[in-house]
Subunit: 238 residues, 2 copies
DNA sequence: GTACTACTTTTGGTTGACCAGATTTTTGCT
DNA sequence: AGCAAAAATCTGGTCAACCAAAAGTAGTAC
């Protein structure tokens, strides 16, 4: 951790952008700005905060990405939230946006993928099935090559896509690459033949539209990573 | 929908930023760039693509937000991914980033919150319990005021926080505000006394560390919104 | 008194020049 | 030739000036 003597500095270095976001947060907490208000022009904020317009601009961009404000061209930015507490929480989240701990990432992945495959089994179309089979074949083909990890990812991605819930898919897309990176870095993950069999079982369950069965296999499939994450967590705590 | 006569333009207007991202995607797909490569300097990309550096800059920012590239000051940006197919998929997702349909949002919320409250019940600390009780009291207090929605949100937020899984919380923070906005807009949601009772039951189950019970109540609690979303979906399909 | 038009101001968007740190190349000594 | 110091170059980050569209305002015709 980036502990300092004072114990005050939580973050290594706060980027100018984040500082600006903090200022906006203060403005809201102090009651100057309320949800629904139009916030001052970029130039005004810049001089008021003592930062360049570029920094203010980037901060507003970031806030818009996270749905906290809505900025319309040549008009201004309005605050989106529902109430002050909510807003405060949201902005804090944006500021504390750091790389998540591995165990939480995996835990979330298990939940998301288990439910995604259940929906996939219930909702797949002919087109989906073609993609699924293609992805499965690719994985078999690449199993003994360097492309294995990528093809594995692609298979899971296809399952998420066939769930016909874009939110599930988007969230998995956020979580999985992070996991894969750590997994790949920390463990020279050897090709495990069980994985092939599990993928096959998932395909069978999906084909039979047996969502519950598919979900069970997925849980088992991901148990390895979950255990790995748990042991890693316990190791780090010592 | 924003249909045109040609039927070619899927999006209303593709922002310059997204166009740049598309170009980067093409560069990767054509094999010019591979994962791990350092991509050309901002200025070079700008002249090569025929856009301003500002636009290139924003595109790279966006790609960094989504973990596709990593840019280090005074040095350059490197591509993060694992393999080409994965990268292609990720970038496509960023480009198609649109407002999600209401039903998918709610469906995801149910899954996330059900699991979040289960973990909350298993893991809460004394400090968490204090916050939970405070949030619950606030909701009771604000039930007949305009702040009801905000306090409701705050309660659910506290539960997510007490799950001690920051990823769950972050994802709920993305999903819930969108839901609340639509819910609030489409339906003058009248104060429903059942909600108070359900919140109380959740609190009881959490206190008893009964994760399964808490999850059940949460599912029931959210069923109303899920049904509402379903009817809204079916109405729109007609 | 009211509605409409033309003008001024304000807004976010864009551009090109400049800055300091990192990187590479050149240079000069041994 | 080997190697270290220094200079030139290349990088992302910052800044101030400018652009066109939106919003606001004053004036005028009715």
């Amino acid at each position: 951790m980036a502990e300092t003597f004072t114990g005050l500095k939580e973050q290594n270095v706060e980027s100018p952008t984040d500082k600006v976001i903090s200022k906006v947060k203060d403005l809201i907490n102090s009651g100057v700005l309320k949800p629904g208000d139009k916030l001052p022009a970029e130039r005004k904020l810049a001089v008021e905060f003592g930062f360049g317009r570029t920094q203010v601009r980037e901060a507003l961009h970031k806030l818009e990405f996270y749905g906290i404000i809505k900025t319309l061209p040549q008009s201004g930015s309005i605050i989106n939230g529902l109430d002050i507490n909510t807003l405060d929480g949201l902005i804090s989240d944006v500021l504390n946006l750091q790389s998540y701990d591995f165990y939480s990432l995996v835990e979330t992945r298990v939940v998301l993928e288990t439910n995604a495959i259940r929906l996939c089994a219930e909702r797949w179309t002919e087109k989906d099935m073609q993609k699924l089979e293609k992805a499965h074949e690719n994985y078999l083909r690449d199993f003994n090559t360097a492309k294995r990890i990528g093809s594995d990812f692609a298979f899971h991605r296809t399952v998420a896509e066939s769930s016909h819930n874009p939110v599930f898919k988007a969230m998995l897309m956020i979580v999985i690459p992070d996991i894969m990176e750590i997994y790949q870095r920390d463990r020279l993950c050897a090709p495990n033949p069980d994985v092939i069999d599990e993928h096959q079982q998932m395909m069978n369950a999906i084909k039979k539209r047996d969502g519950e069965k598919a979900a069970q296999i997925m849980t088992k499939h991901l148990k390895g990573i979950l255990d790995f994450a748990k042991s890693k967590l316990e190791k780090e705590e010592n």
